[in-house]
């Protein structure tokens, strides 16, 4: 699913998936495809997607969202402020 939403500044594309506990969000056009989030995730939630962002990079996709434990390692290790985790419910 790719949503388009309004931030204070601009329109952003978001890849977002939720489990019953956590939502993983990826800001499409901020990603530089470094792969660090995919590598640090302890439960292998993330995979490189086929989506091409406006700079030509493939952002990750939370394919195994049900395995997310909400540790935020992906959020804290993304060098480009492109991932954020929310608690659901």
């Amino acid at each position: 699913m790719v949503f388009t939403g309004l931030t204070q500044q601009s329109v952003i594309g978001l890849i977002t998936r939720s489990s019953s506990k956590y939502r993983v969000n990826i800001i499409v056009d901020r990603c530089k495809e470094c792969g660090i989030c995919i590598s640090v995730c302890p439960t292998k939630v993330l995979e490189r997607s086929n989506i091409l962002n406006k700079y030509g990079y493939h952002p990750p996709e939370p394919v195994n969202i049900d395995k997310c434990i909400g540790c935020k390692l992906c959020e804290y290790n993304c060098p480009d402020f492109a991932v954020f985790i929310e608690k659901v419910g």
């Binding site: 949503f3 977002t16 901020r30 470094c34 060098p79 480009d80 402020f81």
Partner: protein, 275 residues
């Protein structure tokens, strides 16, 4: 279910300048994120007034961070971020100065300023990102480059011994000296949070990854590979001594809080505290 469209750190960033100019997988963004989370906490606790926060950077990839933060900031001459910050805090002691710079900016060309600001315990936080080269200019040898590494200015291997900035600053009168790594963003956050609540000279060295330039020199061009190789070498110690402050690609990199003092800061002394 409402969906949030903003990253929790967006309010601290100049979003019109994001994405940064940093190369994919550069560790600098991880460090900046950790610092902003700590700052966010201190602001919400009421300990720091965001209008008094003031960032200073010299020249280099690291120093460029000041372009990206949604605070008052100055981008000054290479190596001169510390003296610029000294002038600012002496003119307006209410300011909370945060100096960011690379190992070249802070410990190389700016090394003398680092020494004397620490000796005088001047009120500021200096966060030095060590990526082992002059990255922005293409990978020349830096004072932190390990021996034998081939850089653009040491094509036969670096003949010099690297400096240990934690030992140097720790031997002076700094109130806080710590080291973390971009592979441990929680420690960057924790140490910067601590530093934000203190006075005097506070120094944090953050060992960072530069896959684009340093990675190319040492055969770790892939950001994930470089991150993992750095991570393997980093060892956290609880309150280690300065003697334990090893930073050696072969023997390991010790991180932790080396020095925590409550000595009167330069401004406190000027205001009539004990000399």
């Amino acid at each position: 279910m409402a969906i949030t469209y903003t990253h929790p750190l967006d309010k601290h960033l100049r979003l019109e300048r994001i994405p940064t100019l940093y190369c994919p997988g550069c560790g600098l963004g991880i460090g900046l994120g950790a610092m902003l989370r700590a700052l966010d906490k201190r602001i919400s606790e009421g300990v720091i007034d965001p209008r008094k926060v003031f960032w200073v950077g010299g020249i280099g990839c690291t120093a460029r961070m000041v372009f990206y933060v949604n605070y008052d900031a100055a981008h000054v001459i290479h190596g001169r971020s510390i003296p610029f910050a000294i002038g600012a805090v002496l003119a307006n002691p209410e300011l909370k100065a945060i100096v960011v710079g690379g190992d070249g900016d802070i410990a190389g060309i700016g090394g003398n300023h680092l020494v004397h600001a620490a000796r005088r315990n001047i009120d500021m936080i200096v966060v030095m990102f060590t990526n082992f080269v002059y990255a922005m200019t293409g990978g020349q040898v830096a004072p932190t480059t390990p021996r034998k590494v081939k850089t653009t200015t040491t094509p036969y291997g670096n003949p010099e011994y690297p400096m240990n900035a934690v030992k140097l600053v720790g031997s002076l009168n700094a109130n806080y000296v710590a080291r973390a790594s971009v592979t441990t963003p929680h420690y960057i956050e924790q140490f910067f949070y601590k530093a934000l609540g203190m006075s005097g000279f506070r120094f944090i060295e953050v060992v960072s990854t530069c896959p684009e330039v340093y990675g190319r020199h040492i055969g770790l061009r892939d950001p994930v590979e470089m991150y993992n190789e750095l991570k393997k070498r980093v060892k956290y110690k609880h309150k280690p001594s300065l003697e334990e402050a090893e930073i050696d690609w072969e023997k390991g990199i010790v991180i932790g809080e080396f020095i925590e003092r409550n000595n009167p800061s330069f401004i406190e002394i000027l205001r009539g505290g004990q000399a």
